[in-house]
Symmetry: D2
Subunit: 272 residues, 4 copies
């Protein structure tokens, strides 16, 4: 799979299928490989682009601090490299924040914007959560890191039903996450620390879908309310019974919502 140099960093990406382009932006702990189960469904009628952000997956590690605006420039770099003019940009959590930043700078490249489990500003509470995660990450201790982060990611319902799978994931964390991963992770957390674009996002005019999850405690529903109120005519749906990682807990509902929006965003249905 290809990579390209953007802003001085080697950035890894993957491309599948044909049709209008969907770009999926990762959450903070994810990478292109997190989307394996989704490749078929999203590339059936669309070109699908996956990207590892700077400091994620197979992309280069950074040697200095940065913010999410740089990540949005990286997304722009990838679509330029692919000579794509218009994309449906889908972001989850951290990826949604980057997507908002992208929309503010490169709105003309967007056919639509889809924000799952996203906030437009890092609250004081989220900042402390991030610092706690970084604290666990600094010790490069997979089990501690897992226990510091997972309760923010999954609903208690998912936890109870999938405890064996979760414990296997914890074993995996211990095995595969090395020091470099943790250092990169800490920089990713820090890059979101000062996010606050509440006053700017009203400039976003492209068709926008906001996806909330009922039991999301990391970016709870009222965070998306802020976005909904600012982005005029944004559409807003909620996935029942899911925690923050709606793509993992309710993958079918997650994909269905996104593909439904992409298939209908350009067809205004006028009733009133």
């Amino acid at each position: 799979m290809p990579s390209t140099k953007i802003k001085g960093y080697e950035i890894y990406y993957e491309v599948y299928g044909k049709g209008e382009t969907i770009v999926l932006l990762n959450g903070i702990m994810m990478s292109t490989s997190s989307w394996n189960s989704f490749i078929d469904v999203f590339s059936r009628n669309n070109r699908l682009v996956l990207i590892d952000f700077l400091d994620q997956g197979k992309s280069q590690k950074s040697d200095k601090p940065y913010d999410q605006k740089l990540q949005s420039d990286i997304v722009k770099g990838v679509i330029d490299e692919l000579k794509i003019d218009k994309i449906h940009l889908v972001g989850v959590s951290y990826g949604g924040e980057v997507a908002l930043n992208f929309a503010l700078k490169y709105q003309e490249n967007l056919s639509s914007l889809i924000l799952a489990n996203t906030t437009s500003y890092t609250t004081q509470l989220l900042r402390d959560v991030g610092k706690c995660w970084n604290y666990a990450a600094k010790n490069h201790d997979g089990r501690a890191f897992f226990k510091a982060t997972m309760p923010f990611i999954y609903s208690v319902e998912f936890y109870e039903e999938n405890i064996d799978w979760l414990k296997k994931r914890e074993d995996l964390f211990v095995t595969i996450f090395d020091d470099a991963w943790y250092e990169a992770y800490i920089r990713l957390v820090d890059s979101a620390e000062n996010l606050d674009i509440r006053e700017e996002i009203e400039k976003i005019k492209v068709p926008t879908l906001i996806i909330s999850a009922e039991y999301d405690i990391t970016t709870p529903i009222r965070y998306q309310k802020v976005i909904h109120e600012k982005i005029q005519n944004s559409k807003w749906v909620l996935i029942k019974g899911s925690g923050h990682a709606s793509m993992y807990e309710k993958p079918q509902e997650f994909a269905s919502n996104i593909l439904g929006f992409i298939n209908t965003y350009d067809e205004e249905i006028k009733i009133v």
Copy 2:
């Protein structure tokens, strides 16, 4: 547009487009013409079938009481007439109740089942609401009927924003609804009075999507919880900020959810 004789009644239906078939079943006060704004979006990649139930729109009026099972037989009659084997069956409210009945009797004809703002049983409260509606209907007084029914149909948010449109609709009610319409309407309400298939719907095994609306007071979210708990692996989403008539209040979200599900129901996304 065609009609056909089913169970002794002349039943009106409309067909648009090509592809896998979507059948949209009306709410109680609706008719095929209520879907005008949706024809384009639903027939773009699909064959779309609209049906006026017995006692609705251009279908024949009944001369005796009946229940929703008869309406599900009527749906079956239409798809047989069209020689269609598999359908995506979408029902809203009353139509969702008929869709559930259809699924219980003709499950082999379903590719998927989509239930918007639906209940699996008529509660004592809904029964009294129905009787109040019939009381207003019996007087064939459009303004009274409008005020008895609309507060159950729309959210207060929609009411406030669209009061002029609503008042125009009220004027319309007065003009177009004649005695025969009210008599038919009363029979439709009565046909749902004894619905209670809570214990049966666990037999439904086809991919099912349940759509709730945040401010639905006629079939509130907890009615759909009953359905979700009974139909194994049913998917469940909620449209934010909408009342009972989610297709009118949030048409884009309504269509998007349905088309997204129809595009993904056969592609199992396995994470855990």
Copy 3:
């Protein structure tokens, strides 16, 4: 029990017990006798005053339209008659609206203000609901009236559990509500039609408790949110599992909340 002439009308009231005074203001369909089960608990350590509003219970009927400001003057008249300076004013629904009006005009007479299931403005939807109720009332038909109003008053949960009690109440409606009752009722509904004091209630500075009910569809939680945001430092609690008539559905929680607030309102508990 005594009555007194206020604003030209003979107003009926009842007084029980000793201590700081609690005045309970009726909902629209209630009267002093609706509080029978509550007299003991509210008069144990307090003086309790019950009042039939103009056009309610044993108070005089009006011969012309009026608004809720007149009802608040009537409350003032009763406490003046009783030579009471300070009261805890508790209103439910219509009574809460009168209580808000009272607070705007006679704030110096309030020790505290308690608003159960209350709105600060009559929405377009509520206006239509009121007109539907009046439509049923105009026919002086108890059964129709019952079915037009009860689904707005009780939760579906209460309905299912207490259907026999409700049907007995319906029989009672038919028996005891006479033409004069219905005429008075219609005037009461009309007196609330133009309520909109959203912009004024920020002037209310007395300790205020707002009580919502989880399943209230007549004055849903978001109506109380408006009040909470306007009245600085107002306290806000919610009774789980109850519909609009929280005093009937959850009498213990209703009384407990009120008495708890009355016992603590003057003792500021400072943590931060």
Copy 4:
């Protein structure tokens, strides 16, 4: 203030006021001194008993693991020492869990039971949260510990409004929490790890009030639903706008609910 030997441990407690006895049981990070602001309001008409659990505040530290049943025996020991027969037992979070255990063993000593922000079982997710807290505690690093725990304790709304107060608390953590405190804290967390009395609590028949908080993510509303469904006729209220530490975020509502219940629990209000 006195202490007494119970089960071999020196247990510290405080007693204020006269009247029916209220016993307030601490949350896990609290001590008797956490209730300073509440002493006046709770002892005005009642005898108030505060207790430091084993491993809390001025009570003795344990030298071995234990579970919450031991803590309930300690509560029993204190009231025996005080020769009190009947108490209103109020527990918050960890204290609520001990209160449930107390009710199962010493129900005859209860006038009423009040459970704020309580669960009847430690979910897998809570267990991992506990382990994360212990991880931070093991390093005896106040700032890390603060950031690991506070986001579970307070709502984002409280966080935003009181960030200065929170930062001062963090400074305090660093200063006053010594190694012994952290060791004790870890044992307290471990004592709750295996809580699961879901199948037993239906035996609780005393008047019970359940207090939820709208934004509680540690013991969210659906944890209290389990308790409400099991304890017959338990009453259930919710404090709007509060996180897990409802006593800190909404002290007035917290105290009001408790005192209201204590003043009304013995006065059955019968409507239906």
